[in-house]
């Protein structure tokens, strides 16, 4: 495309742009979306996506990126504003309508049916007549995957494919629908660094075949690396749209977050004696297949051990086995003094294991109970919280007030029910409860998933502070940056085993990726 952004009407202050220009694949005019609970997700968003460009939408979690794109793809309806496709105003009632207009979206949580084959998943959206014509679907798959250089077997079941492949199936499906505008929501968050490289190559191929690509991301590096233009969203508003050639990380950072964020200075810990020892652990998954397969690891006091790996390689089962939520088939889990293998969860908690679960809404808190009650959950059954089975409500309340101020949890009052709290504050609550429990070992599972930058920083600082107090931390995260930033040792998990170990000082990212993919 020969236009330079500065000469395009979008950057001309004098002439109010109306988006009628057919240079724009999509033009949003004054889009506002308010959710029933009062959250303003998008406020008067005006934004143009040029034909054939890669346009990054950059912003923190909760900035309104996904909501905006769901409006374009017909899943949500805006409360006000106008959408123009190829210069013509349209009303996008549902995702079918969006795909007729040539718009398709790859969601962060894939929209593939795991029990179906690739062919069936694609047939699901291609079918027009009453009878399924799988032959025609196959022809389409073959011709599209040939032109894109993708190698996908239409007969394979989605649940048997690795994440990177599933993403390709998602994109293949959109291409089979002859989509012209592809919206990708945080596409790299599930990929390993090597997969990211090949993903970027695919984006470039798509661009050169004439597709328009919108990339939703919270990673500045990524936006700088792959996009032509970047739009920064903050708190539901467009802060600025700039050509990538004029952007840099410092500029973007100042646009993405209001005010300065104190970056956590992470010094390495000083590990002491082993506090958690896992030896030749074997655990099965829900379907009885081996998930953890002879895994051994040690966490010492004052040390953060990061578990890096692609989701689904036994991380979940490992954590559940340590915390007593899943049966250990063989092997042992030991704390400094106690054998906790297959012991009841209550026993394990009392011997000093604290746990920040990934599924914080279901495993971390009881949503309909008050903040004060949730904060007391782990010690409410014994003195001084309760005597002879009667709870000392005054003490529960004082404990809550104390923790709320210590961890600066934002709540209107300590008895508010937890469902009214934001994700970041719920996480603070869980961290506060787990840390006040006085354990020697903390299992932190995806501790910052879904939190904004400030809340993530706060959690990181807490983890580092705990480490300096001599607590041993097992950090399980799919966010590789987080693992690298905090860990004293990085263990790579693949197929239920630890397949490699690094110290951050001599980390070889290439090799780490290969290990995560099981390539060594």
């Amino acid at each position: 495309m020969a236009i330079t952004p500065l000469s395009s009407p979008f950057f001309n202050d004098k002439e109010q742009d109306n988006g009628k220009d057919a240079e724009y694949a999509v033009f949003l005019k004054g889009i506002t979306k308010i959710f029933p609970n009062g959250t303003v997700a998008n406020h008067d968003v005006t934004l143009g996506i040029l034909k054939g460009e890669v346009h990054a939408i950059l912003g923190e979690n909760g900035a309104g990126k996904t909501t905006l794109m769901r409006i374009i793809s017909g899943i949500l309806k805006p409360d006000s504003g106008e959408i123009l496709i190829d210069g013509k105003p349209v009303r996008i009632r549902d995702p079918m309508e969006a795909s007729r207009l040539g718009i398709g979206m790859v969601h962060q949580h894939f929209t593939l049916i795991p029990e179906f084959t690739v062919r069936e998943n694609i047939a699901l959206v291609l079918a027009t007549s009453g009878w399924l014509n799988l032959k025609k679907v196959d022809e389409k798959i073959t011709s599209v995957s040939k032109s894109m250089g993708l190698e996908i077997d239409p007969d394979s079941k989605i649940e048997s494919l690795p994440i990177g492949k599933r993403q390709q199936v998602e994109i293949l499906r959109l291409l089979c629908q002859d989509v012209k505008i592809l919206i990708l929501d945080e596409p790299t968050s599930v990929l390993t660094p090597i997969e990211v490289d090949s993903f970027f190559r695919m984006i470039r191929d798509l661009k050169s075949s004439g597709k328009t690509i919108v990339l939703i991301t919270h990673k500045m590096k990524e936006a700088l690396q792959i996009s032509d233009r970047i739009t920064v969203l903050r708190a539901g508003r467009v802060i600025k749209t700039i050509p990538t050639s004029e952007a840099n990380e410092a500029l973007l950072a100042s646009l993405v977050v209001e005010g300065m964020i104190p970056a956590t200075v992470v010094r390495r810990g000083t590990p002491g004696a082993p506090v958690l020892r896992v030896e030749s652990l074997r655990v099965s998954d829900d379907r009885g297949r081996p998930a953890v397969d002879g895994l051994s690891l040690v966490v010492r006091s004052g040390e953060i051990v990061g578990i890096a790996g692609v989701a689904g390689n036994g991380q979940k089962e490992l954590v559940e086995a340590i915390t007593g939520l899943r049966r250990v088939e063989s092997g042992t889990v030991r704390l400094a003094l106690h054998d906790i293998t297959n012991k009841p969860t209550r026993f394990i908690i009392e011997r000093g294991i604290s746990y920040i679960p990934e599924d914080r809404l279901h495993r971390g808190v009881i949503l309909t109970m008050g903040v004060h009650e949730n904060l007391a959950l782990k010690c409410i059954g014994k003195p001084p919280m309760s005597r002879k089975s009667v709870i000392d409500r005054g003490l529960v309340l004082r404990n809550a007030e104390n923790l709320i101020s210590r961890f600066s949890i934002k709540v209107p009052d300590p008895c508010t029910s937890v469902e009214n709290l934001s994700g970041g504050n719920i996480q603070k609550l869980i961290v506060a409860r787990e840390l006040s429990n006085g354990g020697e070992v903390l299992i932190a599972e995806q501790p910052t998933a879904g939190l904004d930058i400030k809340a993530s920083e706060a959690v990181h600082q807490e983890l580092v502070a705990l480490r300096s107090k001599g607590i041993g931390i097992l950090l399980v995260s799919s966010d590789l940056d987080e693992i690298i930033k905090l860990s004293d040792r990085i263990c790579v998990i693949f197929g239920g085993r630890i397949v490699g170990e690094f110290v951050p000082e001599n980390l070889d990212i290439e090799r780490l990726s290969r290990l995560m993919l099981g390539a060594e």
Partner: protein, 312 residues
Amino acid sequence: MIEWAVLIGLAAATLRVAAPLLLASLGETIAERGGLLNLGIQGAMLLGAFSAFIGAYFTGSLWIGLVSAIVGGVLATLLFGVLVVSLDLDHVVSGLAINLLASGLTLYFTRVLFTGGVSPYLGELFGPLPIPILSQIPVLGEVLFSQTGFVYLGLISVPLVYMLLTKTTFGIRLRAIGEDPVTASYLGINVVKMRYAALFAEGMLAGLAGGLLTISMFNTFDTRIVAARGFVAVSIVILGRWNPWGVLAGSLLFGFTEALSLRIGIIFPELSGASTIQLFALLPYLVALVALVAGGRRVRGPASLGKRIGKQ
């Protein structure tokens, strides 16, 4: 030595008794493939049985009874749809509520309409329809081709439902909804419309299943006429692993045990003490229990089965 004729009679009775179970469980299969766990099928069958009887009795036409059976069944499953699809309420609670409503309604109207609360007998029934030529085949003709229209309908429905679920766009979309309704809606599938359509189909089949009890099998109506056939149908679906052919096998198994329990005194005359015979009436339910425990342990149904959308 058991007589040949008794065995043929047993086989024919198996099909006859299996017919209501087969029709109902095929209906339930369609609903469950779309993620709807409809225990209210028991109520749908009861309403089908009742409205079939009322329709046939007051107009004197069995065909009108047949149509009203379908109407009764569909009304019950659409009510389930309002509760579960539109209002997103709990599937089990809604299903049980419909069962209570159906037994209350039918009891009330039986008392209001008929003196002494006892339904009269119908003048005629949908009897066997021997198929010309085929019914002349020895053994097979008697067992398979001298049945009522309901039996033929049930048997023909098996491949039809199978094709509906696997070979049509409707089927693949319905199964996608059964796995993950939120994803399906993201793909532009109208989950609400599809689920109502599935319930409509289930209502027709369940209504027929209930209706055949009054207008083809028992000749009258009683509020206990369905017995536990609706719940048995739900177990058959699990046993048949949500596959119409498996459901056929399951229905035949239950049909066989029920037919056997009715004939146990003829086949084994030495057992014909009254209390023993009564005990054999339990056989189908015992088989249900054993089959579910033995065969239902490792099966995985549609992933969203019985789950509320708001809770996923």
